[in-house]
Symmetry: D4
Subunit: 165 residues, 8 copies
């Protein structure tokens, strides 16, 4: 199936976190492609990947990066597709460096920023599905089921831990 | 025209910032509705607004809030539409409180966070248009023209200030 | 016994920290009920729990949450009972995200915020007892005894470690 | 009328902020007394004030302080009444110093911390009323009316600013 | 020998850090007494300890505390002796809470603040010796020798690691 | 009179803040000398000033600096006298850069750090007097009178603002 | 004269700050060219500018940017020349966002980061001159004279403000 | 071979991080000398080292330091050579203290600051080579090869992890 989402990260060390995004998309049956490109070490490769993604029908890009996390913003500079940025905790500064680098984009080129690390990577997958679902009713239904399932999980856990003194 | 975007903010004091979002949508010819609802003072109103927006064909919600900026997350808890959060600088903490309250959503309920203040509000408008453009080719073209216009503005400014010693 | 305090948390992973609150209430003989509800994943359940608590005679609510810790504020939006918020350290940001999300409430809807993590959960239990003690003289006496016991513990430790060169 | 709330602050320069608390209590018809005592410059006066407040029937203390904001914690060390701490923005650090000094109390002695500055002072007044209302049904009703009034204000403002493109 | 320095800390869990101060004083032959007192749990004990120290000829007080680290400031409110504050890393906030609580004293009551944790406790011992040495020439000489010894240690280490490519 | 305190700052723009220190010393009748030396622009001058101060009978040095505030630490590297560091708010970072540069000294060379800005400069003057007072009973008495005067000022202000509802 | 330094900034609003760099280079007689290019709005222009600079004999690039300040890193990804990054204070976060975005470059692509704002822009000019001076003895002499002049200015100011009590 | 780069650090505990700089220089065949000198414990040694380095033909200095990281700035005060500062994570504050101490140099004396820790030490080596390469064409070629090698590594990793759903 032709991918609808491109997941891109700066280094293979980011894979264990970014797999939360790909697993989430798999759960929704959204086709994706996941690869590595560095904003700084492979600027040409990054540009080519984005241009190719635009041609091949990708609708959303998820980019994860740590430290001076320029990848999501650089990706956004090459396309008018929605770009979701995942700040990674890859330095001693706990991901605050990546968060500010990704979220504080100047006016004109937005990056849709999610939380730092695994929670953010998972949410990036859900957000990508939410965007795609605006023109895919079957996917919209899956998002509703996922929401219901989360509610049931909370209620199930509540039953297990509930206690009275 | 039926609105495609709902812009919502916690207080009328947020209006001068959030108008950057509405003006941006107007520039792209995207119909929107803009109103006030507080996550804390009017929880029922917030829920009703979101439910009504879903029924009336809105595709994206932009929510701006300052301090303990719960509005975007609370909005996201009522819908599976994409929700864009704009952190506002409304306390002595320079918007850092709002940024962390909005972006650090737990796994399951994403908020697409943009930069603090006016730059973020403008980018929220562009991001909403980028999401809508995935199923609206005319809008996609407008986004490309907007990008080209920004490039020309930079080049124009470069000509004006360029100097050699 | 009918519970006087409702302890609520966003996830079962918060239980080891929030048990400091329940154990403290047990130490004072204050009846409580402890459960899970998520501001974002189960907004309806949260509302229902608070409404039921109001009817059943609960006087104070303790809510613990991490990251974009909206639960205490969302709980406070449904009731005029005192709500105590416990910021949990549940992300790479050391609980600073939860602290600002909980404490920086806009004017109109207060949340009584305590310290991050286990110290805060324990203090939430004591603060709830202090509030209840305003109309319960037996509990007020227990709080005084607890204070005296803490003083004796400090003095006992002082005797053990005191040293002169 | 005998005061039910003692409002205490470290300096007369804190008065314009702390008056948000006293005005809020006046709005609810809650009798209070407001004065100055410094944790560091007048430790004895602080202790005496708290002891006298306990004897005279005060039920809640509101303490506001900036910088190394020790006053709320020092007050809490002298009493088992609920103590509400208001962090003031009184240095170049935007109130972050006062917030951490007040909220990060060690286990055993809680301070119910509210937001920085005027929003916090107002919320301190409401929180004090919420605590007193647990044994005062008339006050509980006033809190509900206040909540309704806030909702109406938001709705009124929404009508004024609402706009469609 | 009569103690010249009082070392005081809020909890016995602070002992492994604060022993850096006592060991440093021992190295200089400065008599000290080390004990526990909590600003919040034992306010009276703290006051008594400081008053007794003044009478018994103590010249400098070293106070270590974590979280809402009020102990050094509270100690300083009871005496005009120099008080040295050691911020301890005792919460998830890495000691930043204790640092701001200790160093940001309002005008009128200074606390001589040193670095967070063990480095600070050691430096507190040296600073206390530097203060005492203004009226103790033998101690002043020991401080000079200590400085020379540190220089030699650096030079010794430099010889060991120096390398050329 | 021979100066007992050397006040040193990195730039003449620091003078309005550092005069809080000199005025405080004047209030106590402590002779001082105040001058400019930059850790980075005039390293030799700084060294010479400290060596001369040691010879001329100075007992305490107060050094104020902003940004990468190295002056207090550099001064401390040239002497075993107590060095008091005043962090100045001289950049966009609100003095946090200067605070961390001054307070986080490595083990071996302490700097007695006070609060940021004018409050700190004033407290530096008081702390210097406290150190000198260990061998000057007349000065010790003045410190006690100063403390009493501050208490009276607080009480005077309390009388003025005290109000009951 | 052929430029030796390229000064580049993201927006014409950065000009008043970045002129500190150009004026400094003029003071040293270093030829430069100054222009605007945005990492995000004109990625192609940025790449072309850097490639052209390499061909025309530029030896050092100075890049200033605020918010998600990607420009210096993006520039560095296109060249192996030394790139100096100036963080600009262009959002509510006081330049901390730009500082972390610029300085926290991942291993492989350095950016030589200087202080935030005007001080940094001036230092960028001096640092560029220091780099060029490694192969230009006349420039090296000018740097020494500049250093001497700064010393004299400090000494001159010291004479003006020096005072004794 | 005569060293072109002096690597200097404050303590032997910094060696495992700073070796990233020396290994990088070795990879480029740049001769260097690496040693220890403390800004605070051995100010004279530091000055002598820098003066000797200037005479022996060193062109760039790399200085690493943690906490109140004054070493790079102190080194820069003794020379007009380019000085590269590496902030080390050597306290509970995650290297933020060292970063601000190094980067926020006042106007007049720049320090070229790189990222915190190992990434920064490696980048310091590359930046030193970039500076030297302005007058060494063979080294410039090595830098280009290194850049190409990094690109190939990213592409190789991309091939390994790339996956499609």
């Amino acid at each position: 199936m032709k991918p609808k989402v491109l997941i891109i990260m700066g280094s293979d060390s980011d894979l264990p976190v970014m797999e939360e995004a790909s697993k989430t998309l798999e759960g929704f049956g959204v086709p994706y492609v996941m690869t590595i490109a560095s904003a700084h070490r492979t600027p040409e490769r990054t540009r080519t990947l984005i241009r190719d993604a635009e041609k091949s029908g990708v609708d959303v890009i998820i980019a994860g990066a740590g430290m001076s996390a320029h990848l999501p913003g650089v990706v956004a500079s090459f396309t008018t597709m929605p770009v979701i940025g995942v700040p990674l905790n890859a330095s001693s500064l706990n991901g605050m460096d990546a968060l500010l680098s990704i979220v504080q984009m100047p006016p004109g080129i937005p990056v849709a920023t999610v939380s730092i690390g695994k929670a953010g990577a998972k949410n990036a997958g859900i957000l990508a599905a939410q965007i795609l679902a605006r023109k895919d009713k079957a996917l919209a239904k899956k998002l509703l089921s996922h929401r219901t399932k989360m509610q049931e999980e909370v209620e199930e856990k509540a039953r297990k831990i509930q206690r009275n003194s």
